[in-house]
Symmetry: C2
Subunit: 76 residues, 2 copies
């Protein structure tokens, strides 16, 4: 299975969602990207359609926005 | 693994998210509840903390609200 990518920014709701997603999907199936630490990947995330974090991009390219933590605009 | 429960209401964003979640987590690990058809379960969903659908309730009871489809208020 192709990997999903979980984008977050270290906020409490992100970390909680990260643990849930990893438990559900399996750590080996998810790449975790901290956009606060890796600001060079904000553009990539935006190009994929991210509007907020935390969000999970599935292997087929769908973006699942989870709750609402931080606007992508605030991470630039 | 205990089952997660995916609550939705048949809206397009719900159905799309449902397919993604089932692909990621595995159909055997998710119970799917259509709150539009099963209005008797709206109270249960609300008690679990659902504010909107689609949402996934993980085996440990966390509620992951995915995107924003329909307010739980609109399903009563």
């Amino acid at each position: 299975m192709a990997k999903s990518v979980f984008y977050h920014a270290g906020c409490p709701v992100c970390v909680s969602a990260e643990h849930d997603i990893i438990n559900l999907v399996g750590a080996e199936n998810v790449e975790v990207v901290h956009l606060g630490d890796q600001k060079n990947r904000v553009g990539e995330a935006e190009a994929l359609g991210l509007k907020s974090v935390p969000a999970l991009v599935t292997p087929n390219g769908n973006v699942l926005h989870i709750n609402f933590g931080a606007s992508i605009e605030d991470l630039k």
